[in-house]
């Protein structure tokens, strides 16, 4: 018998539904704006403006526009504001929107504190390493400035470490919403928030929580991080055409485009949601995780790890491959990911599968730690709205990527079951299954 595999009885276990969504992305400051962008097949990628990247080999990205972290901090309770840098502020804004969307307010008896938890995919990073390194340089150069340094450290707020720690956002959201149940932060690069959503599913199923706020936050628009990705050769260099740079599954693809933002879902035990009369977007029916045990930055050419994740997710949801109507691909626009993912999809769904597959990263860019969460939100909206967003910039068919990638034009059609994929550096994979909710 296998809990996340064959044989686990689907009747009689708690079911988990999505009752709230919130996001801030390169396509817009809300879920509605982001969705409108996807419907218009709009691209959120442009030249980097957050710092002077004019001499960088890659100088494009998916930035969140007109965002002032100070405004968010000013509106948050002080002890929470301390934990908010740009990245965490994205997560905070998305979480507030998701909770409002779900109609959940702390302290109003909707959930006892211990029955709500938080599961996030994110990382801890300094806002910018450069000023700190500059300080450090000073210190190396002049050790006699020790006292000065000590005095500077003495001015740092006691709880500032939360801002740079991977668990700082989990602290902030648990405090904001009075959530005293399970809290976690998972950092598996591009798979983080997909695994966080899987973690939340498990906690609700096993009765450890009734409500989980799950999602991710990301911000990589900082000189040293962009430099790091450039050095790995992972980024598209298509600076001349930012809007055409992210071209998943296209033969001319040359790397991914970094993006930033936050995306959060309110997940809830279906009975709990029913009792409080909540609106249900979709059911989160299954999750599957795997790890490649292969190369650190590459998916295996045989698609083994991604295939295992999809297979486990389908088994967990108790469905067959034939029941899937749409796949929201990881589709990063790197030569090697898109080929490996195509092989994996064929292994799972058949060599000639006609399931529509699209990569919304063609429009949002790659939100890395938040990618799984924004794509989970998109997957629930595909079901709710009956619209499959396209893979834009698809112009040159690649013989090794020969499935239906919904090129350039979205499709209006009823969709009841979606698989959403995330595969990351370090080899961790996560696949989620969403279904139209039917009791």
């Amino acid at each position: 018998m296998s809990a996340h595999g064959q044989g686990r009885p689907s009747a009689g276990r708690r079911r988990v539904v999505v009752t709230g969504i919130g996001a801030i992305t390169p396509l817009g400051a809300t879920v509605a704006e982001t969705w409108a962008g996807l419907e218009q097949a709009r691209c959120g990628i442009g030249p980097l403006t957050l710092f002077d990247a004019s001499t960088f080999e890659t100088r494009i990205g998916g930035e969140v526009k007109d965002f002032a972290v100070e405004r968010v901090r000013a509106a948050a309770p002080p002890a929470i504001a301390e934990a908010l840098d740009r990245k965490n502020a994205f997560g905070y804004v998305a979480a507030c929107a998701a909770m409002a969307d779900a109609g959940l307010k702390p302290g109003e008896g909707a959930y006892p504190p211990g029955r709500m938890g938080v599961a996030l995919g994110t990382e801890g990073r300094r806002d910018s390493l450069l000023p700190e390194l500059a300080q450090r340089k000073l210190r190396v150069a002049a050790p006699e400035q020790l006292e000065q340094r000590r005095a500077a450290l003495a001015q740092v707020p006691a709880w500032e470490y939360l801002r740079y720690s991977p668990y700082g956002l989990a602290y902030a959201l648990a405090a904001q919403f009075g959530a005293a149940g399970p809290a976690t932060t998972i950092s598996t690069a591009c798979t983080s928030s997909s695994q966080a959503i899987g973690y939340a599913l498990d906690k609700i199923r096993h009765g450890e929580a009734d409500v989980m706020l799950a999602g991710g936050a990301e911000c990589l628009m900082e000189p040293t991080m962009v430099a790091g990705f450039i050095l790995l050769g992972a980024l598209s260099k298509n600076n001349a055409n930012p809007q055409g740079a992210s071209r998943p599954f296209d033969r001319e693809r040359d790397g991914f485009v970094l993006a930033e933002g936050g995306a959060m879902l309110v997940l809830e035990d279906s009975w709990h949601a029913y009792r409080r009369g909540a609106r249900i977007y979709a059911e989160l029916a299954g999750f599957g995780a795997s790890i490649n045990a292969y190369r650190i930055t590459d998916s295996p050419p045989d698609g083994q790890g991604p295939w295992l994740a999809m297979r486990a997710a389908l088994a967990d949801a108790g469905i067959t491959p034939e029941q899937v109507d749409y796949i929201n691909a990881h589709g990063t626009s790197t030569v090697q990911n898109d080929a490996s993912e195509t092989v994996a999809i064929k292994r799972c769904f058949g060599e000639r599968t006609r399931i529509p597959i699209s990569s919304t990263k063609s429009m949002t860019g790659h939100m890395v730690n938040a990618a799984g969460a924004i794509e989970a939100i998109i997957s629930t909206l595909v079901i709710k709205n009956g619209y499959i967003p396209p893979t834009i910039n698809y112009q040159h068919p690649d013989p090794v990527c020969n499935l239906d990638y919904v090129p350039n034009q979205g499709r209006r059609q009823p969709v009841s079951t979606v698989v959403s994929n995330s595969f990351g550096f370090g080899g961790s994979n996560g696949s989620l299954v969403f279904r139209a909710y039917a009791p």
Partner: protein
């Protein structure tokens, strides 16, 4: 959108996931690289004898810091554990400590070149790591930065044009938050359930708990899980020096860490890694594996409070209650407690209050110890290290190690602290707490196998 349809009868019965069968989970391998040595025997002996692992820190010049002591791993020779030079180049010191502990745990469980491992479906091997998250060596950026300075200060144009090319191209990969998880999967050829959990001092215990549940509920048959972290690192010391949580004194090193003592003054920065091999009980028995004990309960909770997140008695209470419920046990089934014992004023108070509430009258005679009095705080490494420590106290002729430096137990925090010398006895079930600096607590329950 229309209102939600009514759930089915099956959903309404809400069986709390108990529809899934529960399998027993054995601990069949342990590995550690710690301030108290790099072997289980040495750890157990030191703890029982009340020997401290805290002293000077050979690998890090601490002249610039307010404290000059820590729980450092001594005589650490990475090549003893990691043979591939290319892998070594990717690893900073904390990652090496973690990977070394993984290697030791796999060896201890007899998983190296083992037919038992070869016979397993790779998709049934899980790996869960509690880690500090994004790290990396900031020094590797300094050269690129040097080149990018002009009279006006840092010139990003110059950094982009000339600086970047001088940086080690592996810099970003070296800072990958899930690097140890990657190496665990390689080591075992594991392709199953996995996560890299970054929840500070709770992370390692959460990794163990998640691995335990993955096996219990049938998602995996074998798992490697644990944690690693280092506070003996410039960036981390800078982050925590202002927090008021870190021990900043310069008294006698061995007396610095004082959990539950009246004069406790914060946690001592330490480093290390500890990993365990978990295995479905029947699988372990059939291959004749050494069974150290059984992991039978896991619960986690968070404070949900703004302000001082790691000082909330409620989070300790909720996590311990959840672990007991998970194990289907009651508080009176517990025979000893390996407390978090962070040695900060308020955290120890919160934990002691929660333990008093949980144990009620039994609080007077349930022995409580705190390993951090001898190791300092390894954050994500501490939970798993303390589980290995507690495995040495499970059994018939066993003993609970003392809390070092608990000379004057705080009179407000009345519990049966083990002081002075180890407490002999027979211990069937031990509760362990691990708390994170973001307000999350994870509790685990160990029991003697069979």
């Amino acid at each position: 959108m229309p209102p939600s349809p009514a759930p089915t009868d099956a959903e309404r019965e809400r069986p709390n996931g108990e529809a899934a069968p529960r399998r027993a989970v054995a601990i069949t391998g342990v590995g550690l690289v710690s301030p108290l040595g790099q072997s289980t025997e040495q750890l157990w002996q030191s703890l029982r004898a009340g020997v401290s692992g805290i002293g000077d820190v050979p690998h890090l010049p601490l002249d610039a810091y307010r404290t000059r002591i820590g729980g450092a791993v001594r005589n650490f020779q990475p090549r003893q554990y990691i043979s591939d030079p290319k892998s070594l180049k990717l690893m900073t010191r904390p990652v090496r400590l973690g990977v070394a502990a993984v290697e030791l745990a796999a060896r201890d469980a007899g998983l190296e070149n083992s037919p038992a491992l070869a016979a397993l479906d790779p998709a049934r091997i899980a790996c869960f790591v509690g880690s500090p998250g994004h790290a990396g060596d900031r020094d590797e950026l300094l050269r690129g930065l040097d080149l990018s300075y002009t009279d006006q200060g840092l010139d990003l144009g110059k950094f982009g044009a000339e600086g970047i090319a001088t940086i080690n191209p592996l810099w970003l990969l070296k800072s990958l938050a899930n690097l140890v998880l990657y190496f665990v999967s390689l080591k075992l050829g594991a392709q199953g359930p996995n996560a890299n959990i970054c929840m500070s001092g709770a992370g390692g215990s959460m990794a163990l708990g998640e691995a335990f549940h993955a096996i219990r509920y049938g998602r995996a048959d074998v798992a490697v899980a644990g944690g690693y972290e280092s506070l003996l690192d410039e960036e981390r010391l800078e982050s925590f020096e202002p927090s008021g949580l870190l021990y900043l004194g310069n008294g006698a090193a061995q007396a610095a860490s004082r959990p539950f003592d009246r004069d406790r003054a914060g946690f001592v920065a330490a480093e290390g890694g500890a990993f365990l091999v978990l295995e479905e009980m029947e699988h372990a028995r059939q291959r004749g594996a050494r069974i150290y004990g059984e992991l039978c309960g896991y619960g986690t909770a968070s404070s949900g409070l703004a302000g001082r997140p790691n000082e909330d008695a409620g989070a300790f209470s909720d996590a311990m209650e959840a672990a007991l419920a998970d194990a289907r046990l009651d508080a009176w089934d517990l025979e000893a407690v390996f407390a978090q014992g962070l040695a900060t004023d308020r955290s120890d108070r919160a934990e002691a209050q929660a333990l008093q509430q949980l144990l009620t009258a039994r609080a007077a005679y349930t022995p409580v110890t705190a390993v951090k009095s001898m190791t300092g705080n390894l954050l994500a490494g501490s939970g798993p290290l303390e589980v290995i420590a507690a495995l040495g106290s499970l059994g018939a002729d066993a003993a609970i190690p003392p809390i070092l430096n608990c000379e004057h137990p705080d009179p407000d925090l009345g519990l049966d602290y083990v002081r002075g010398t180890a407490r002999p006895g027979s211990f069937r079930r031990i509760l362990l707490n691990a708390g994170g600096l973001g307000g999350t607590v994870a509790s685990l329950i160990l029991q003697r196998a069979g």
